[in-house]
Protein backbone atom coordinates (compact mmCIF):
# COMPACT_ATOMS: atom_id res chain seq x y z
CA UNK A 1 0.00 0.00 0.00
CA UNK A 2 2.65 2.48 1.01
CA UNK A 3 4.67 1.81 -2.13
CA UNK A 4 1.63 2.42 -4.29
CA UNK A 5 0.83 5.79 -2.78
CA UNK A 6 4.49 6.68 -2.77
CA UNK A 7 4.64 5.94 -6.46
CA UNK A 8 1.65 8.14 -7.13
CA UNK A 9 2.78 11.14 -5.13
CA UNK A 10 6.36 11.01 -6.31
CA UNK A 11 6.04 10.32 -9.99
CA UNK A 12 2.67 11.49 -11.26
CA UNK A 13 2.10 15.00 -9.88
CA UNK A 14 -0.10 16.21 -12.74
CA UNK A 15 -2.70 13.54 -12.21
CA UNK A 16 -3.12 14.23 -8.51
CA UNK A 17 -6.53 15.44 -7.48
CA UNK A 18 -7.05 18.86 -5.92
CA UNK A 19 -7.42 17.20 -2.53
CA UNK A 20 -4.12 15.34 -2.92
CA UNK A 21 -2.27 18.50 -3.86
CA UNK A 22 -3.66 20.47 -0.91
CA UNK A 23 -3.84 17.61 1.54
CA UNK A 24 -1.71 19.16 4.28
CA UNK A 25 -3.61 22.43 4.10
CA UNK A 26 -7.11 20.97 3.92
CA UNK A 27 -6.90 18.06 6.34
CA UNK A 28 -6.81 20.08 9.59
CA UNK A 29 -9.99 21.92 8.58
CA UNK A 30 -11.78 18.69 7.77
CA UNK A 31 -10.81 17.33 11.16
CA UNK A 32 -11.82 20.53 12.91
CA UNK A 33 -15.13 20.99 11.12
CA UNK A 34 -17.45 18.94 13.36
CA UNK A 35 -16.00 20.27 16.60
CA UNK A 36 -16.10 23.87 15.37
CA UNK A 37 -19.64 23.45 14.11
CA UNK A 38 -20.93 22.12 17.43
CA UNK A 39 -18.99 24.69 19.41
CA UNK A 40 -20.19 27.61 17.29
CA UNK A 41 -23.83 26.60 17.39
CA UNK A 42 -24.03 25.80 21.11
CA UNK A 43 -21.39 28.02 22.71
CA UNK A 44 -20.01 30.89 20.65
CA UNK A 45 -23.14 32.11 18.88
CA UNK A 46 -25.35 31.89 22.01
CA UNK A 47 -22.97 34.28 23.80
CA UNK A 48 -23.73 36.97 21.22
CA UNK A 49 -27.41 36.08 21.20
CA UNK A 50 -27.52 36.64 24.96
CA UNK A 51 -26.10 40.11 24.48
CA UNK A 52 -28.86 40.77 21.96
CA UNK A 53 -31.66 39.31 24.08
CA UNK A 54 -30.58 41.50 27.00
CA UNK A 55 -31.88 44.49 25.00
CA UNK A 56 -35.37 43.06 24.72
CA UNK A 57 -38.35 42.45 26.91
CA UNK A 58 -39.29 38.84 26.28
CA UNK A 59 -41.17 36.10 28.09
CA UNK A 60 -39.56 33.33 26.04
CA UNK A 61 -42.66 32.55 23.98
CA UNK A 62 -44.44 35.64 22.69
CA UNK A 63 -43.04 38.44 20.52
CA UNK A 64 -39.96 40.31 21.68
CA UNK A 65 -40.10 44.00 22.33
CA UNK A 66 -36.96 46.10 21.90
CA UNK A 67 -36.38 48.22 24.99
CA UNK A 68 -32.76 49.29 24.58
CA UNK A 69 -30.81 49.47 27.82
CA UNK A 70 -33.86 49.41 30.06
CA UNK A 71 -32.95 46.02 31.52
CA UNK A 72 -29.59 47.38 32.59
CA UNK A 73 -31.16 50.51 34.03
CA UNK A 74 -33.48 48.32 36.09
CA UNK A 75 -30.51 46.23 37.20
CA UNK A 76 -28.77 49.36 38.46
CA UNK A 77 -31.56 49.93 41.01
CA UNK A 78 -32.24 46.30 41.89
CA UNK A 79 -31.27 45.51 45.50
CA UNK A 80 -31.37 41.76 44.75
CA UNK A 81 -28.71 42.33 42.12
CA UNK A 82 -26.39 43.95 44.64
CA UNK A 83 -27.01 41.19 47.17
CA UNK A 84 -26.04 38.66 44.50
CA UNK A 85 -22.99 40.65 43.49
CA UNK A 86 -21.84 40.95 47.10
CA UNK A 87 -22.31 37.20 47.62
CA UNK A 88 -20.38 36.49 44.43
CA UNK A 89 -17.48 38.47 45.86
CA UNK A 90 -17.64 36.55 49.17
CA UNK A 91 -17.70 33.30 47.20
CA UNK A 92 -14.69 34.33 45.14
CA UNK A 93 -12.58 35.29 48.15
CA UNK A 94 -13.49 32.45 50.48
CA UNK A 95 -13.39 29.81 47.77
CA UNK A 96 -9.71 30.55 47.30
CA UNK A 97 -9.17 29.04 50.75
CA UNK A 98 -9.47 25.70 48.98
CA UNK A 99 -5.98 26.24 47.56
CA UNK A 100 -3.99 26.49 50.84
CA UNK A 101 -6.29 23.94 52.48
CA UNK A 102 -5.67 21.52 49.61
CA UNK A 103 -1.93 22.13 49.88
CA UNK A 104 -1.88 21.33 53.58
CA UNK A 105 -3.87 18.15 53.22
CA UNK A 106 -1.55 17.14 50.37
CA UNK A 107 1.48 17.78 52.58
CA UNK A 108 -0.15 15.80 55.36
CA UNK A 109 -0.77 12.85 53.04
CA UNK A 110 2.52 12.98 51.14
CA UNK A 111 4.06 10.06 53.03
CA UNK A 112 4.68 6.45 52.24
CA UNK A 113 3.02 4.47 54.99
CA UNK A 114 0.82 1.41 54.76
CA UNK A 115 -2.50 2.10 53.04
CA UNK A 116 -1.69 5.68 52.10
CA UNK A 117 -3.03 5.25 48.57
CA UNK A 118 -6.43 4.34 49.92
CA UNK A 119 -6.31 7.34 52.25
CA UNK A 120 -5.53 9.63 49.33
CA UNK A 121 -8.46 8.24 47.32
CA UNK A 122 -10.84 8.56 50.23
CA UNK A 123 -9.76 12.14 50.89
CA UNK A 124 -10.42 12.89 47.24
CA UNK A 125 -13.83 11.25 47.43
CA UNK A 126 -16.00 14.40 47.94
CA UNK A 127 -14.97 15.74 44.54
CA UNK A 128 -16.43 12.75 42.69
CA UNK A 129 -19.87 13.13 44.25
CA UNK A 130 -22.32 15.43 42.48
CA UNK A 131 -22.85 18.86 44.00
CA UNK A 132 -26.53 18.04 44.35
CA UNK A 133 -25.71 15.21 46.73
CA UNK A 134 -23.10 17.35 48.53
CA UNK A 135 -25.83 19.96 48.95
CA UNK A 136 -28.27 17.42 50.39
CA UNK A 137 -25.64 15.99 52.70
CA UNK A 138 -24.78 19.43 54.06
CA UNK A 139 -28.42 20.45 54.37
CA UNK A 140 -28.88 17.57 56.78
CA UNK A 141 -25.54 18.29 58.41
CA UNK A 142 -26.76 21.82 59.24
CA UNK A 143 -30.29 20.80 60.22
CA UNK A 144 -31.22 22.66 63.44
CA UNK A 145 -33.17 19.81 65.02
CA UNK A 146 -31.00 16.75 64.39
CA UNK A 147 -28.05 17.90 62.28
CA UNK A 148 -24.58 16.80 63.22
CA UNK A 149 -23.29 20.37 63.12
CA UNK A 150 -25.58 21.53 65.89
CA UNK A 151 -25.00 18.37 67.87
CA UNK A 152 -21.26 19.09 67.79
CA UNK A 153 -21.44 22.78 68.67
CA UNK A 154 -23.95 21.78 71.35
CA UNK A 155 -21.14 19.88 73.14
CA UNK A 156 -19.25 23.11 73.64
CA UNK A 157 -22.39 24.89 74.76
CA UNK A 158 -23.20 26.80 71.58
CA UNK A 159 -26.19 26.90 69.30
CA UNK A 160 -28.44 25.69 68.06
CA UNK A 161 -27.86 27.77 64.94
CA UNK A 162 -30.11 27.36 61.93
CA UNK A 163 -27.27 28.03 59.51
CA UNK A 164 -29.31 27.84 56.32
CA UNK A 165 -32.22 29.81 57.75
CA UNK A 166 -30.17 32.71 59.00
CA UNK A 167 -29.41 35.55 56.57
CA UNK A 168 -26.05 36.28 58.23
CA UNK A 169 -24.69 32.74 58.08
CA UNK A 170 -26.36 31.24 55.06
CA UNK A 171 -23.81 32.17 52.38
CA UNK A 172 -20.89 31.07 54.57
CA UNK A 173 -22.65 27.79 55.28
CA UNK A 174 -23.06 27.07 51.58
CA UNK A 175 -19.48 28.10 50.80
CA UNK A 176 -18.23 25.70 53.47
CA UNK A 177 -20.12 22.93 51.70
CA UNK A 178 -18.59 23.98 48.38
CA UNK A 179 -15.10 24.11 49.85
CA UNK A 180 -15.31 20.47 50.76
CA UNK A 181 -15.09 19.05 47.19
CA UNK A 182 -13.01 21.98 45.95
CA UNK A 183 -10.34 21.38 48.61
CA UNK A 184 -10.25 17.73 47.57
CA UNK A 185 -9.57 18.78 44.00
CA UNK A 186 -6.77 21.15 44.98
CA UNK A 187 -5.33 18.42 47.18
CA UNK A 188 -5.06 16.00 44.27
CA UNK A 189 -3.42 18.68 42.12
CA UNK A 190 -0.82 19.32 44.81
CA UNK A 191 -0.23 15.63 45.47
CA UNK A 192 0.65 15.24 41.81
CA UNK A 193 2.76 18.39 41.96
CA UNK A 194 4.62 17.22 45.09
CA UNK A 195 5.49 14.00 43.31
CA UNK A 196 7.41 15.98 40.75
CA UNK A 197 9.27 18.23 43.19
CA UNK A 198 12.97 17.85 42.57
CA UNK A 199 14.42 15.85 45.52
CA UNK A 200 17.93 17.17 44.87
CA UNK A 201 16.84 20.75 45.44
CA UNK A 202 15.15 19.72 48.67
CA UNK A 203 18.32 17.97 49.84
CA UNK A 204 20.47 20.94 48.84
CA UNK A 205 18.18 23.31 50.73
CA UNK A 206 18.29 21.00 53.74
CA UNK A 207 22.07 21.11 53.73
CA UNK A 208 21.80 24.89 53.72
CA UNK A 209 19.71 24.63 56.86
CA UNK A 210 16.27 25.33 55.39
CA UNK A 211 13.39 23.56 57.06
CA UNK A 212 9.73 23.77 57.94
CA UNK A 213 7.92 26.89 56.76
CA UNK A 214 10.94 28.42 55.07
CA UNK A 215 11.58 25.27 53.08
CA UNK A 216 7.90 25.15 52.12
CA UNK A 217 7.66 28.79 51.08
CA UNK A 218 10.99 29.31 49.35
CA UNK A 219 11.78 25.89 47.91
CA UNK A 220 8.64 23.78 47.56
CA UNK A 221 5.90 26.27 46.69
CA UNK A 222 7.81 27.82 43.76
CA UNK A 223 8.19 24.37 42.27
CA UNK A 224 4.46 23.81 42.63
CA UNK A 225 3.64 26.81 40.46
CA UNK A 226 1.94 24.88 37.61
CA UNK A 227 -0.29 23.08 40.12
CA UNK A 228 -1.12 26.36 41.83
CA UNK A 229 -2.07 27.93 38.52
CA UNK A 230 -4.52 25.15 37.68
CA UNK A 231 -5.90 25.17 41.22
CA UNK A 232 -6.45 28.91 40.87
CA UNK A 233 -8.21 28.55 37.51
CA UNK A 234 -10.58 25.78 38.59
CA UNK A 235 -11.34 27.47 41.91
CA UNK A 236 -12.21 30.82 40.35
CA UNK A 237 -14.37 29.14 37.72
CA UNK A 238 -15.98 26.99 40.40
CA UNK A 239 -16.74 29.99 42.59
CA UNK A 240 -18.39 31.94 39.78
CA UNK A 241 -20.33 28.87 38.62
CA UNK A 242 -21.79 28.12 42.04
CA UNK A 243 -25.38 27.26 41.33
CA UNK A 244 -26.17 23.67 42.26
CA UNK A 245 -25.44 24.04 45.96
CA UNK A 246 -27.51 27.20 46.33
CA UNK A 247 -30.39 25.73 44.36
CA UNK A 248 -30.42 22.54 46.42
CA UNK A 249 -29.63 23.91 49.87
CA UNK A 250 -31.62 27.15 50.12
CA UNK A 251 -33.14 27.96 46.73
CA UNK A 252 -31.69 31.44 47.20
CA UNK A 253 -33.31 32.01 50.58
CA UNK A 254 -33.88 33.08 53.25
CA UNK A 255 -35.27 36.29 51.78
CA UNK A 256 -32.98 35.90 48.78
CA UNK A 257 -29.92 36.40 50.99
CA UNK A 258 -27.94 33.49 49.55
CA UNK A 259 -28.41 34.37 45.89
CA UNK A 260 -25.45 34.82 43.59
CA UNK A 261 -25.61 36.17 40.04
CA UNK A 262 -25.78 32.73 38.41
CA UNK A 263 -28.68 31.74 40.63
CA UNK A 264 -30.49 35.07 40.41
CA UNK A 265 -30.29 34.92 36.63
CA UNK A 266 -31.94 31.50 36.60
CA UNK A 267 -34.58 32.63 39.06
CA UNK A 268 -35.51 35.64 36.95
CA UNK A 269 -35.53 33.80 33.63
CA UNK A 270 -36.89 30.35 34.38
CA UNK A 271 -38.40 29.83 37.79
CA UNK A 272 -41.87 30.35 39.13
CA UNK A 273 -41.19 34.06 39.63
CA UNK A 274 -41.63 34.64 35.95
CA UNK A 275 -40.06 34.22 32.58
CA UNK A 276 -38.11 37.41 32.08
CA UNK A 277 -35.59 36.24 29.51
CA UNK A 278 -34.34 39.72 28.66
CA UNK A 279 -33.68 40.69 32.25
CA UNK A 280 -32.07 37.33 32.90
CA UNK A 281 -29.82 37.77 29.87
CA UNK A 282 -28.74 41.17 31.21
CA UNK A 283 -27.67 39.56 34.50
CA UNK A 284 -25.84 36.85 32.55
CA UNK A 285 -24.02 39.52 30.56
CA UNK A 286 -22.77 41.13 33.77
CA UNK A 287 -21.60 37.76 35.07
CA UNK A 288 -19.93 37.06 31.73
CA UNK A 289 -18.05 40.36 31.82
CA UNK A 290 -16.76 39.60 35.33
CA UNK A 291 -15.64 36.20 34.11
CA UNK A 292 -14.05 37.76 31.04
CA UNK A 293 -11.36 39.43 33.15
CA UNK A 294 -10.33 36.06 34.50
CA UNK A 295 -10.59 34.34 31.11
CA UNK A 296 -8.36 37.01 29.58
CA UNK A 297 -5.82 36.49 32.35
CA UNK A 298 -5.88 32.69 31.96
CA UNK A 299 -5.50 32.90 28.19
CA UNK A 300 -2.68 35.40 28.53
CA UNK A 301 -0.82 33.04 30.87
CA UNK A 302 -1.35 30.14 28.50
CA UNK A 303 -0.27 32.25 25.54
CA UNK A 304 2.99 33.14 27.31
CA UNK A 305 3.63 29.45 27.94
CA UNK A 306 2.94 28.58 24.31
CA UNK A 307 5.41 31.22 23.11
CA UNK A 308 7.97 29.94 25.57
CA UNK A 309 7.86 26.41 24.18
Amino acid sequence: MSTASLARSEYAPENRSWYKRNEIRVTPWLFLAPAILFFLVYVIIPIFQSFEISLFSWDGLGPREYIGTENYVELWDDPAFYTSLKNNLIWLILYLLAIPAGLFIALFLNQTVFGIRLYKSLFFFPFVISQVVVGLVFTWFYDPTFGLFNTIIGWVGLGPINVLGDPTYVTYGIIAAGLWPQTAYCMILYLTGLNAVDPEQIEAARLDGAKGWKMLWYVVVPQLKPATFIAFVVTIIGALRSFDLISVMTNGGPFGESRVLSFYMFEVALSEYGFRMGYGAAIAVVLFIIMLFFIAYFLYSMYRDERGR
Partner: protein, 282 residues
Protein backbone atom coordinates in the same frame (compact mmCIF):
# COMPACT_ATOMS: atom_id res chain seq x y z
CA UNK B 1 10.83 14.50 49.40
CA UNK B 2 8.88 17.10 51.28
CA UNK B 3 7.76 16.95 54.01
CA UNK B 4 10.41 14.80 55.67
CA UNK B 5 9.47 11.12 55.31
CA UNK B 6 7.86 9.92 58.50
CA UNK B 7 10.25 6.97 58.59
CA UNK B 8 13.10 9.37 59.37
CA UNK B 9 11.29 10.81 62.39
CA UNK B 10 11.18 9.48 65.92
CA UNK B 11 8.99 6.52 66.81
CA UNK B 12 6.61 8.75 68.71
CA UNK B 13 6.04 10.86 65.63
CA UNK B 14 5.40 7.80 63.51
CA UNK B 15 2.91 6.46 66.01
CA UNK B 16 1.08 9.79 66.25
CA UNK B 17 0.88 10.08 62.48
CA UNK B 18 -0.45 6.57 62.03
CA UNK B 19 -3.09 7.17 64.67
CA UNK B 20 -4.05 10.56 63.35
CA UNK B 21 -4.59 9.42 59.74
CA UNK B 22 -7.82 7.47 60.27
CA UNK B 23 -9.06 10.12 62.67
CA UNK B 24 -8.53 12.88 60.12
CA UNK B 25 -10.24 10.79 57.47
CA UNK B 26 -13.30 10.23 59.64
CA UNK B 27 -13.52 13.94 60.37
CA UNK B 28 -13.14 14.76 56.67
CA UNK B 29 -15.89 12.36 55.60
CA UNK B 30 -18.14 12.91 58.62
CA UNK B 31 -21.12 14.43 56.75
CA UNK B 32 -21.01 11.55 54.30
CA UNK B 33 -20.66 8.87 56.96
CA UNK B 34 -23.72 10.34 58.67
CA UNK B 35 -25.75 9.93 55.49
CA UNK B 36 -24.45 6.39 55.09
CA UNK B 37 -25.61 5.53 58.61
CA UNK B 38 -28.99 7.20 58.01
CA UNK B 39 -29.53 5.09 54.92
CA UNK B 40 -29.39 1.81 56.83
CA UNK B 41 -31.48 2.90 59.80
CA UNK B 42 -35.02 1.53 60.01
CA UNK B 43 -37.92 3.95 59.90
CA UNK B 44 -38.76 3.40 63.58
CA UNK B 45 -35.51 5.00 64.74
CA UNK B 46 -36.45 8.32 63.20
CA UNK B 47 -39.97 8.19 64.58
CA UNK B 48 -38.45 7.68 68.04
CA UNK B 49 -36.16 10.69 67.55
CA UNK B 50 -33.10 8.42 67.67
CA UNK B 51 -31.14 10.21 64.98
CA UNK B 52 -27.60 9.58 66.17
CA UNK B 53 -27.78 6.24 67.87
CA UNK B 54 -26.54 3.20 65.95
CA UNK B 55 -29.27 1.58 63.86
CA UNK B 56 -31.49 -0.49 66.14
CA UNK B 57 -31.90 -3.04 63.36
CA UNK B 58 -30.37 -3.16 59.91
CA UNK B 59 -32.86 -1.43 57.63
CA UNK B 60 -30.61 -1.25 54.59
CA UNK B 61 -32.41 -3.85 52.50
CA UNK B 62 -35.79 -2.30 53.10
CA UNK B 63 -34.61 1.27 52.44
CA UNK B 64 -32.66 0.54 49.31
CA UNK B 65 -35.39 -1.82 48.14
CA UNK B 66 -37.91 1.01 48.39
CA UNK B 67 -35.59 3.27 46.40
CA UNK B 68 -35.30 0.73 43.62
CA UNK B 69 -38.82 -0.67 43.50
CA UNK B 70 -41.18 2.02 44.76
CA UNK B 71 -39.84 5.17 43.20
CA UNK B 72 -38.79 6.56 39.82
CA UNK B 73 -35.14 6.19 40.78
CA UNK B 74 -34.31 3.33 38.35
CA UNK B 75 -35.83 5.44 35.60
CA UNK B 76 -33.64 8.41 36.47
CA UNK B 77 -30.55 6.23 36.67
CA UNK B 78 -31.25 4.84 33.23
CA UNK B 79 -31.78 8.35 31.86
CA UNK B 80 -28.49 9.46 33.35
CA UNK B 81 -26.74 6.54 31.71
CA UNK B 82 -28.38 7.25 28.34
CA UNK B 83 -27.28 10.87 28.56
CA UNK B 84 -23.81 10.29 29.92
CA UNK B 85 -22.48 7.55 27.67
CA UNK B 86 -23.38 9.11 24.28
CA UNK B 87 -22.00 12.44 25.49
CA UNK B 88 -18.69 10.90 26.49
CA UNK B 89 -18.38 9.08 23.15
CA UNK B 90 -19.39 12.12 21.12
CA UNK B 91 -17.24 14.68 22.90
CA UNK B 92 -14.17 12.45 22.96
CA UNK B 93 -14.56 11.61 19.26
CA UNK B 94 -14.88 15.26 18.24
CA UNK B 95 -11.97 16.21 20.46
CA UNK B 96 -9.70 13.48 19.11
CA UNK B 97 -10.15 14.91 15.63
CA UNK B 98 -9.90 18.55 16.65
CA UNK B 99 -6.94 17.81 18.89
CA UNK B 100 -5.19 16.04 16.03
CA UNK B 101 -5.74 19.02 13.73
CA UNK B 102 -4.51 21.53 16.31
CA UNK B 103 -1.66 19.45 17.64
CA UNK B 104 -0.09 18.30 14.38
CA UNK B 105 -0.67 20.97 11.73
CA UNK B 106 0.81 24.42 11.62
CA UNK B 107 -1.50 27.01 10.15
CA UNK B 108 -2.19 30.63 10.79
CA UNK B 109 -5.39 30.35 12.80
CA UNK B 110 -4.24 27.35 14.82
CA UNK B 111 -3.62 29.10 18.13
CA UNK B 112 -6.71 31.31 17.72
CA UNK B 113 -9.00 28.33 17.27
CA UNK B 114 -7.35 26.56 20.17
CA UNK B 115 -7.91 29.56 22.44
CA UNK B 116 -11.50 29.79 21.24
CA UNK B 117 -12.11 26.28 22.59
CA UNK B 118 -10.28 27.06 25.82
CA UNK B 119 -12.11 30.33 26.40
CA UNK B 120 -15.52 28.82 25.62
CA UNK B 121 -14.85 26.21 28.22
CA UNK B 122 -14.61 28.88 30.97
CA UNK B 123 -17.77 30.74 30.04
CA UNK B 124 -20.53 30.91 32.70
CA UNK B 125 -23.45 28.65 31.82
CA UNK B 126 -25.96 31.44 32.31
CA UNK B 127 -24.79 33.39 29.28
CA UNK B 128 -25.71 30.35 27.15
CA UNK B 129 -28.89 29.43 28.95
CA UNK B 130 -31.58 31.45 27.20
CA UNK B 131 -30.36 30.95 23.59
CA UNK B 132 -29.56 27.26 24.08
CA UNK B 133 -32.93 26.58 25.64
CA UNK B 134 -34.58 28.49 22.81
CA UNK B 135 -32.62 26.56 20.18
CA UNK B 136 -33.47 23.25 21.82
CA UNK B 137 -37.17 24.14 21.90
CA UNK B 138 -37.05 25.19 18.23
CA UNK B 139 -35.47 21.90 17.21
CA UNK B 140 -38.26 20.06 19.05
CA UNK B 141 -35.74 18.56 21.43
CA UNK B 142 -36.86 20.24 24.65
CA UNK B 143 -37.35 17.65 27.37
CA UNK B 144 -35.54 14.94 25.42
CA UNK B 145 -32.30 13.19 26.21
CA UNK B 146 -31.05 13.99 22.70
CA UNK B 147 -31.34 17.72 23.31
CA UNK B 148 -29.29 17.42 26.47
CA UNK B 149 -26.71 15.16 24.84
CA UNK B 150 -26.17 17.50 21.88
CA UNK B 151 -25.52 20.45 24.14
CA UNK B 152 -23.23 18.50 26.45
CA UNK B 153 -21.19 17.21 23.52
CA UNK B 154 -20.74 20.72 22.20
CA UNK B 155 -19.76 22.22 25.54
CA UNK B 156 -17.45 19.42 26.66
CA UNK B 157 -15.67 19.55 23.30
CA UNK B 158 -13.93 22.68 24.60
CA UNK B 159 -12.28 20.98 27.54
CA UNK B 160 -11.66 17.74 25.64
CA UNK B 161 -9.95 19.55 22.77
CA UNK B 162 -7.68 21.40 25.19
CA UNK B 163 -6.76 18.07 26.73
CA UNK B 164 -6.27 16.17 23.47
CA UNK B 165 -4.33 18.89 21.75
CA UNK B 166 -1.83 19.12 24.60
CA UNK B 167 -1.55 15.36 24.70
CA UNK B 168 -0.88 15.10 20.95
CA UNK B 169 1.64 17.94 21.16
CA UNK B 170 3.60 15.71 23.49
CA UNK B 171 3.81 12.83 21.02
CA UNK B 172 7.04 12.47 19.02
CA UNK B 173 6.50 14.44 15.82
CA UNK B 174 9.18 12.42 14.03
CA UNK B 175 6.66 9.60 13.83
CA UNK B 176 4.31 11.67 11.71
CA UNK B 177 7.10 12.97 9.52
CA UNK B 178 8.32 9.44 8.90
CA UNK B 179 4.81 8.44 7.85
CA UNK B 180 4.55 11.41 5.50
CA UNK B 181 7.83 10.50 3.87
CA UNK B 182 6.31 7.11 3.28
CA UNK B 183 3.48 8.89 1.50
CA UNK B 184 0.75 7.73 3.83
CA UNK B 185 -2.48 9.71 3.53
CA UNK B 186 -3.12 12.16 6.38
CA UNK B 187 -6.31 10.51 7.57
CA UNK B 188 -4.47 7.20 7.72
CA UNK B 189 -1.84 8.81 9.89
CA UNK B 190 -4.65 9.78 12.24
CA UNK B 191 -6.32 6.38 12.29
CA UNK B 192 -3.29 4.11 12.31
CA UNK B 193 -0.56 6.10 14.03
CA UNK B 194 -1.98 8.83 16.27
CA UNK B 195 -5.20 7.19 17.48
CA UNK B 196 -3.51 4.07 18.94
CA UNK B 197 -1.10 6.32 20.84
CA UNK B 198 -4.01 8.31 22.27
CA UNK B 199 -5.55 5.40 24.16
CA UNK B 200 -4.54 6.62 27.64
CA UNK B 201 -5.85 10.12 26.88
CA UNK B 202 -9.11 8.68 25.56
CA UNK B 203 -9.52 6.57 28.69
CA UNK B 204 -8.79 9.52 30.98
CA UNK B 205 -11.18 11.83 29.17
CA UNK B 206 -13.99 9.31 28.99
CA UNK B 207 -13.94 8.78 32.75
CA UNK B 208 -13.80 12.51 33.41
CA UNK B 209 -16.63 13.37 31.05
CA UNK B 210 -18.71 10.53 32.44
CA UNK B 211 -18.34 12.02 35.92
CA UNK B 212 -18.89 15.64 34.86
CA UNK B 213 -22.04 14.85 32.90
CA UNK B 214 -23.44 12.45 35.46
CA UNK B 215 -23.10 15.20 38.05
CA UNK B 216 -24.55 17.97 35.90
CA UNK B 217 -27.58 19.58 37.43
CA UNK B 218 -27.96 22.99 35.84
CA UNK B 219 -28.56 21.88 32.25
CA UNK B 220 -30.74 19.02 33.40
CA UNK B 221 -33.23 21.44 34.96
CA UNK B 222 -32.95 23.93 32.10
CA UNK B 223 -33.50 21.49 29.25
CA UNK B 224 -35.65 18.73 30.74
CA UNK B 225 -38.54 18.18 33.12
CA UNK B 226 -40.34 15.08 34.32
CA UNK B 227 -39.30 11.49 34.80
CA UNK B 228 -39.17 10.43 31.15
CA UNK B 229 -35.96 12.31 30.39
CA UNK B 230 -34.51 13.84 33.57
CA UNK B 231 -31.22 12.49 34.85
CA UNK B 232 -30.78 11.43 38.44
CA UNK B 233 -29.35 14.73 39.74
CA UNK B 234 -32.55 16.50 38.77
CA UNK B 235 -34.72 13.51 39.61
CA UNK B 236 -33.53 13.36 43.19
CA UNK B 237 -35.37 16.58 44.02
CA UNK B 238 -38.71 15.08 43.01
CA UNK B 239 -37.66 11.86 44.72
CA UNK B 240 -37.15 13.88 47.89
CA UNK B 241 -40.50 15.56 47.44
CA UNK B 242 -42.09 12.10 47.25
CA UNK B 243 -40.42 10.99 50.49
CA UNK B 244 -40.42 14.30 52.34
CA UNK B 245 -38.93 13.96 55.84
CA UNK B 246 -38.29 10.23 55.35
CA UNK B 247 -34.59 10.72 55.95
CA UNK B 248 -33.67 7.07 55.72
CA UNK B 249 -35.07 6.90 52.17
CA UNK B 250 -33.69 10.26 51.06
CA UNK B 251 -30.26 9.20 52.30
CA UNK B 252 -30.47 5.90 50.46
CA UNK B 253 -31.56 7.76 47.32
CA UNK B 254 -28.68 10.22 47.59
CA UNK B 255 -26.20 7.38 47.92
CA UNK B 256 -27.62 5.55 44.93
CA UNK B 257 -27.44 8.74 42.85
CA UNK B 258 -23.82 9.37 43.84
CA UNK B 259 -22.60 5.82 43.39
CA UNK B 260 -21.94 5.39 39.64
CA UNK B 261 -19.27 8.13 39.34
CA UNK B 262 -17.75 6.94 42.61
CA UNK B 263 -17.51 3.41 41.22
CA UNK B 264 -16.06 4.82 38.02
CA UNK B 265 -13.47 6.73 40.02
CA UNK B 266 -12.34 3.74 42.04
CA UNK B 267 -12.20 1.45 39.01
CA UNK B 268 -10.33 3.88 36.77
CA UNK B 269 -8.46 5.83 39.41
CA UNK B 270 -5.17 6.10 37.54
CA UNK B 271 -6.79 7.51 34.40
CA UNK B 272 -9.10 9.74 36.37
CA UNK B 273 -6.31 11.43 38.29
CA UNK B 274 -4.08 11.63 35.22
CA UNK B 275 -6.89 13.49 33.49
CA UNK B 276 -7.66 15.88 36.33
CA UNK B 277 -4.06 16.80 37.02
CA UNK B 278 -3.03 17.32 33.41
CA UNK B 279 -0.74 20.31 33.39
CA UNK B 280 -0.15 20.27 37.15
CA UNK B 281 3.46 19.30 36.48
CA UNK B 282 5.66 20.45 33.67
Amino acid sequence: MFPTPIQKRSRNWQFTYQAFLPLALIMWLLPLIAVGVFSVKPEGDFAAGEYWSLPSTFGGFENYGKVFFESDMPRYLLNSLLITVPTAIGAVALACMAGFALGIYKFKLNLWIFFLFVAGNFVPFQILMVPVRDLTVDMGLYNTKTGLVLFHIAFQTGFCTLFMRNFIKGLPFALIEAARVEGIAEWRIFVYIVLPLMKPAIAALSVLIFTFIWNDYFWAIVLTQGAESQPVTAGITSFNAQFRAAYHLMSAGAIVAALPPVAMFFLMQKHFIAGLTLGAVK
